[in-house]
């Protein structure tokens, strides 16, 4: 049955608080919705089940949206999922259109989130069953496609994009092997046994590397970017300029990726951006501040939030790290996810689905209303902003892992990011390699073990074969387009 999506008024303050907290935490590089919900979880024990679910949902959706703000304003993704938004969002901000970039991100998040929610409400049990048909060969093929797509569409050369991806995959091999208890590249460090933690790497690659880059920029007078007038009119113009294909494909990609256990918002954004660029009439403009470059990743990673709820609610399998924490919270509040949750009616699903939809309405309202405040951040002098970002980033790394090792790691990765950037290597594929490396390796090896070493296992599955074919065709298509664009 379809649950009641109207949220009772007494739950609204919890939703508003959750969304605002999520936006705030998501906008701070290094602080994620996962961390916010983890910190909040003990607090929700004081609440009844419905307000707790509503607040956690608000933090989740607000946190995913909030990541785009720092990515646009500071060129530092607030969350890994907003790394692709940074490319065109920050370029747009540098062109004096910060307000428009945030408005586009807000509206895209709203569209993607609502789409993901509709799918969640209408098709959750059915989609969850489809998602379960993705076994190791299919997951391996999907990861290969994501890695190839991002390495290929990097604005830098294909060679350097691929190299950056390999560097990320190498970082992902550090730590105890997932299938056999063997330490790899740990150099006898206890901290490295669990692998290279993601958050310090995100902070290092983007926040510290940016700080180092900016500190090397000699004195020059900066022109404060314009806020721009007629924001809504300009937003509507940009919204209409984006092809229907991007508006449709991106939320679909986001929802489907979200429904796959373990895939996550970052992969949704990476895949969606790559597809938007591949299918664009002017792919060379991506990275220079085009609306599609914001719409595609933002609508996808917010649609992912709806998708990620699907396996969690229907099967009890979390779609990503945040839903894993939310799942823990639900169980602690006595809610048992699974097919029976949908059969039992809307006692708990109603507040959850209602909170989900209303959180995106709030995001739209808060996002657009707070644009002047966000834009003001771009006017803060560098001498105030970068010492603040530097200290915030390194301390965030400490709080994310609770060790000073994370601070050293952040500094080291910051230097790596600074050097890679200086020599023309893109940073986003490094991040994607680190995120997807464990999935790539474990699904490949698991497939090979189960097929007793027969590599044709990847072609026997029609889904895996199609995905691998797409991965092989992707660079050829992009190179053909680049060559034809280069010809006079």
């Amino acid at each position: 049955m379809t649950p009641d999506l109207l949220l009772s008024p007494e739950l609204l303050p919890f939703l508003v608080g959750g969304v605002l907290l999520g936006i705030m935490v998501g906008a701070v590089p290094g602080l994620t919705a996962t961390l916010a919900i983890s910190l909040l979880l003990p607090l929700t024990f004081q609440l009844a089940t419905a307000p707790a679910i509503v607040m956690m949902t608000g933090i989740f959706t607000g946190g995913i949206y909030g990541g785009s703000i720092a990515a646009i304003i500071l060129r530092i993704p607030g969350t890994p999922a907003s790394a692709m938004t940074m490319l065109d969002g920050h370029a747009m901000a540098q062109g004096g259109r910060t307000g428009l970039a945030i408005a586009l991100a807000t509206f895209s998040s709203f569209v993607g989130g609502v789409f993901g929610g509709v799918v969640l409400v209408l098709f959750a049990p059915q989609l969850a069953r489809v998602a379960l048909t993705f076994q190791s060969p299919e997951m391996f093929a999907l990861v290969v496609l994501a890695l190839v797509a991002v390495a290929t569409v990097s604005p830098e050369s294909l060679l350097k994009g691929t190299t950056a991806t390999v560097i990320g995959l190498m970082l992902a091999t550090v730590g105890i092997d997932r299938l056999v208890p063997v330490p790899r590249y740990t150099f006898t460090s206890v901290d490295l046994l669990v692998g290279v933690p993601l958050i310090p790497v995100v902070i290092g690659l983007f926040a510290v590397a940016e700080l180092l880059h900016q500190s090397g920029e000699p004195a020059h007078r900066g022109d404060a970017p314009e806020v721009g007038s007629g924001r809504l009119a300009a937003l509507w113009r940009e919204v209409r300029s984006v092809g229907v294909g991007v508006w449709v494909k991106s939320p679909v990609i986001g929802t489907l990726v979200g429904a796959l256990p373990g895939a996550g918002a970052a992969m949704a954004a990476f895949l969606s951006y790559s597809e938007a660029k591949r299918s664009s009439d002017a792919p060379e403009r991506f990275g220079s501040g085009v609306a599609e470059g914001i719409v595609a990743p933002e609508s996808a990673n917010n649609a992912m939030t709806g998708g990620a709820f699907i396996p969690m609610l229907a099967l009890g399998i979390p779609g990503d790290a945040v839903t894993a924490v939310i799942l823990g919270g639900l169980v602690m509040h006595g809610v048992t996810p699974g097919p029976q949750l949908f059969d039992q009616g809307s006692v708990l699903l109603g507040p959850l689905f209602g909170a989900y939809f209303w959180s995106y309405v709030l995001i739209l309202i808060f996002g657009l209303a707070l644009i002047p405040l966000f834009v003001r951040i771009t006017r803060i002098p560098r001498a105030m902003l970068f010492p603040f970002i530097g200290a915030l980033a390194v301390i965030s790394a400490f709080t994310s892992e609770g060790t000073t090792f994370a601070m050293y790691l952040t500094a080291a990765v910051g230097v790596l990011g600074f050097v890679l950037r200086r020599y023309g290597y893109p940073l986003i594929p490094v991040l994607l390699g680190l995120i997807l490396g464990p999935m790539l390796e474990s699904n490949f090896r698991r497939s090979m073990i189960l097929s007793e070493g027969d590599p044709s296992v990847f072609l026997r599955s029609p889904v895996a074969a199609v995905l691998l074919l797409a991965a092989a065709a992707f660079p050829l298509l992009v190179l053909r387009r680049r060559n034809s664009a280069a010809r006079p």
């Binding site: 022109d223 500094a411 070493g453």
Partner: protein, 177 residues
């Protein structure tokens, strides 16, 4: 000119800039370093215990080492074809060599300061170490003495309110504990 007047998004095409990526010489240099990394990483892969029923834990590292070595060689070859003798493009001329070299050293000092900050964070505590770190970073961006004092105090105050009071995160107290 005081860099306090700059905004993060500001830019000026005529200002002296650090060397930018893209020259043949840069590609040869970065490709060479990557080749060394691939060799070292590959050597590490051979030390990972083999597993019965390959592919074992060493399979992926070895594959990546070979792939990185191939990519590094391709980058070096591309760099040589691109004219390895040519310097990095984008060297500013309007600001003079002194400005460029002074600017070039600052990122490394900032990186060193970040490592020192990490090392002193627990012994000195959040307040003192953050004051020192943000103070040093401020000095990289402005010569105004008032700002060099005010900005670190502001940073410590805001971060304390955010982490300790708003999020309830325990921060090391160090010498002030």
């Amino acid at each position: 000119m005081d860099r306090l007047t700059q905004t993060p998004s500001g830019g000026d095409a005529h200002a002296p800039r650090l060397p930018q990526a893209g020259s043949g010489r840069d590609d040869v240099a970065s490709g060479g370093v990557l080749l060394l990394v691939a060799l070292a990483y590959g050597a590490g892969a051979t030390r990972i215990p083999a597993q019965v029923g390959e592919p074992g834990p060493g399979f992926m590292p070895l594959t990546l080492a070979v792939l990185l070595a191939a990519l590094a060689i391709a980058i070096i070859v591309g760099g040589v074809k691109n004219g390895a003798g040519r310097g990095a493009k984008g060297n500013g001329s309007s600001g003079g060599a002194g400005g460029v070299f002074a600017a070039a050293g600052r990122p490394w000092f900032a990186a060193l300061a970040t490592i020192v900050f990490a090392a002193l964070f627990e012994p000195l505590g959040f307040v003192l170490s953050t004051l020192g770190y943000s103070g040093y970073l401020t000095s990289l961006f402005t010569e105004d003495r008032k700002h060099r004092v005010a900005v670190p105090v502001f940073v410590v105050t805001v971060l304390f309110v955010f982490f300790r009071l708003a999020l309830g995160v325990r921060l090391p107290t160090g010498l002030l504990g």
